[in-house]
Symmetry: C2
Subunit: 314 residues, 2 copies
C-alpha cells in the first residue's frame, strides 16, 4: 500500500522534469455547478496527460536498459517520453484501434510500437511475453506502486495551488490516478471518481467489495476502456475513494465543448469526465478540484465528436 511519503518522494523525482500544470477557474462553471471549481489541466502535462508522472517515477528508478508497456494511448506516450529522458529503449504494445494521434505521438517520442486487437487478445500476457523476450522492464499503466505514487503528485500539486479543497474529482480507468491522488490528499478532501456509464467496473467493484470484471466497454473515453480495477489500485481505492459517479458519452462531449468554448482548454473524452459529472449535478457543493486528465484528442476527432451534440444556439 502506497503512502503519502511515496507520493512526496515521487514529487521530488518529478521536480523540474514534469510540468507543474496550471489550474483554471471560471465564473460560468461555478454558477452552473453551484460550487467553486478549480480545474487542474493535466492536458498540459508533458505527453499531453497525467500519465507522464507515473511513468517517469517508475522508469527513473529502473536498472534495466529498456522498458515495455501496454497502453490504450496516453501511458504509451508517457513511457516513450520518460524512456527517452532517461536514455532507455521503449517498446509499446498498443491496440489496433488506438487513436492515430496517440500512435503517431508515441512513435514521435522514439518508441517502437507493436499493435494488438484489444477485443480478442490479452494485452497483459502479450506485454509480459514481450518484456521477457527482450529483457525489458514492464511498466504497467496503473497497477504498480511507483506508477500510482507518481500519478498522486497531480493532487499533491493541486493542494499546493489550492490548499482548501472539500472534494477532489478524478477519472477512473484502471484506478491508478485516483489511487495516487486519494493517497496524496487523504484526510484533506472527499474523493469522487468518475467512470463512463458503460465502463463502471470500479463502481461495481466497490459496491461488491471485490474486483468485478465487465466486458470491454464501448465508450468514447478510450482512456477509460478498462474491464476491471487493478489489484493494487482497488486495494487503495476501496479504502480511500468515497464515491463513484458515472457519465454518458453525450455528457462527455458536451463537457469537451464547454471546456473548449468557455475555458479554451483541449480535453480528450477521458479528460472531460469530471467536468461532465459536475455539469450534470453529480458532484456538488463547496470547493471542488477536478483533474482534467489529458488532452490527447486529434482536432479532426474533436470535430467529429461535436457533430453528435444537439444543435446549439449560435
Amino acid at each position: 500500500m502506497i503512502s503519502r511519503a511515496d507520493v512526496e518522494a515521487a514529487a521530488r523525482r518529478l521536480d523540474g522534469v514534469a510540468n507543474r500544470t496550471p489550474v483554471f477557474t471560471s465564473r460560468t462553471l461555478d454558477e452552473r455547478v453551484g460550487a467553486h471549481v478549480v480545474l487542474k489541466a493535466e492536458s498540459l502535462q508533458r505527453g499531453g496527460a497525467f500519465k507522464f508522472r507515473g511513468a517517469y517515477n517508475a522508469i527513473s528508478q529502473l536498472d534495466e536498459p529498456g522498458v515495455a508497456a501496454f497502453s490504450s494511448g496516453n501511458h504509451a506516450q508517457a513511457v516513450a517520453l520518460a524512456a527517452r529522458l532517461t536514455g532507455k529503449q521503449a517498446v509499446i504494445l498498443m491496440p489496433l484501434d488506438a487513436p492515430p494521434a496517440k500512435v503517431e505521438a508515441t512513435r514521435g517520442y522514439g518508441a517502437e510500437v507493436v499493435t494488438y486487437d484489444r477485443y480478442t487478445e490479452d494485452r497483459e500476457a502479450l506485454g509480459r511475453a514481450l518484456a521477457d523476450e527482450r529483457g525489458l522492464a514492464l511498466v504497467p499503466p496503473y497497477d504498480d506502486e511507483r506508477v500510482m505514487a507518481g500519478q498522486g503528485t497531480a493532487a499533491l500539486e493541486l493542494l499546493e495551488q489550492v490548499p482548501d479543497l472539500d472534494t477532489l474529482v478524478a477519472p477512473v480507468g484502471g484506478g491508478g490516478l485516483i489511487a495516487g491522488c486519494a493517497t496524496a490528499i487523504e484526510g484533506v478532501a472527499r474523493v469522487v471518481g468518475v467512470e463512463p456509464e458503460a465502463g463502471d467496473d470500479t463502481r461495481r467493484s466497490l459496491e461488491a467489495g471485490e474486483r468485478v470484471a465487465i466486458d470491454v466497454p464501448r465508450t468514447i473515453a478510450d482512456g477509460l476502456q478498462i474491464t476491471a480495477p487493478g489489484r493494487l489500485t482497488f486495494e487503495v481505492n476501496a479504502r480511500l475513494v468515497d464515491e463513484i459517479v458515472t457519465v454518458t458519452d453525450a455528457e462527455i462531449v458536451e463537457a469537451m465543448a464547454f471546456l473548449f468554448d468557455r475555458m479554451k482548454l483541449v480535453t480528450e473524452p477521458s479528460g472531460a469526465v469530471g467536468v461532465a459529472a459536475l455539469l450534470h449535478g453529480r458532484v456538488s457543493g463547496g470547493r471542488i478540484g477536478v483533474i482534467l486528465s489529458g488532452g490527447n484528442v486529434g482536432s479532426e476527432r474533436f470535430a467529429e465528436l461535436l457533430t453528435t451534440l444537439p444543435p446549439r444556439p449560435s
Copy 2:
C-alpha cells in the same frame, strides 16, 4: 509616446487581477521551425485574450461611472469584464457579424451590446456619439496610451518567464499589442509583427512611412480586420517594429490545428498568426517568443474552419 515605465506601472495595476498566463514549448514545433520557440498563451488570459490587460489598465484609471467601447470582439469582452471588476457600467458597440460566442460572452459579463454594420458604418463616430450621449468614457481598442501600456505587460511577463529572447512575434491588428510589447522589450529582442495577407495595412504603412488605409480586409482573423494603423500605435511601431510578415487564412487554420493537436491549446484565428508565420518559415532562428493573442473561437466555428484544410493522414 509610452515608455517602459508606463508598461511597468500597468503591470503593477494588473498584478493579482490579470492572469499571469503560462508559456509553452514543444519539441515538434522547435524541430519544424529550426528555433527554440516559447508560446505565451494569452488565450488563457481573463476574457480569453490579451485585451483584458489594456482595458483594465485604462478603466482602472478612469473617474467616469461608465465606459463605452467599439470592438470586433475581444476588446468588448475585456472592457465588459474590466468594467464589472471596477464597478462601472459598460456599453459595447459590436459589428453585426461578430462571432456569436464573443457577443454572448460580452453580454455574459454584464455589458449592454449595441450592434452596427462594419462594412457601411463608421464605428469610431458611432462610439464617440454613444459615449457623449450617455456621459461615458470611451475606451479605444488600441489607439490609447493606457491601452497600449496594458498590452505591453504581456511581453514584460514573457521576459520574466524567458529572459533570453532573440525575437518577439505578435499579431498586428490596430497595433496596440505590438506597440506595448515592443516598448516593453526595447533593446532586448527583435520585434516581428504578423498580419493576415489580406489585412496588411501596417506593413504597407511602415513601407510608405505613413499611415495607409486599405479596404476592410476579408480574412478569418476577425480580430485583425483593421483598415489602418492607429495614429498613436503607428508612431510607436514605426520606431520599434523591425519587420512585418503576412500569413494566409489557410496557413492560419493549419496553425490552429497544430496548436490544438500538438500543444492542446485553443486559439482563435488572430491568435494563431504568429505560429502560422513560424510554420511557414517567415520568422526564424534563435529563441523566439510568440504571443498567442486569444482563444475566443467557438468549437463549432473551429470545426467549420478545420473542414477547409486539405486531407490529413489519420
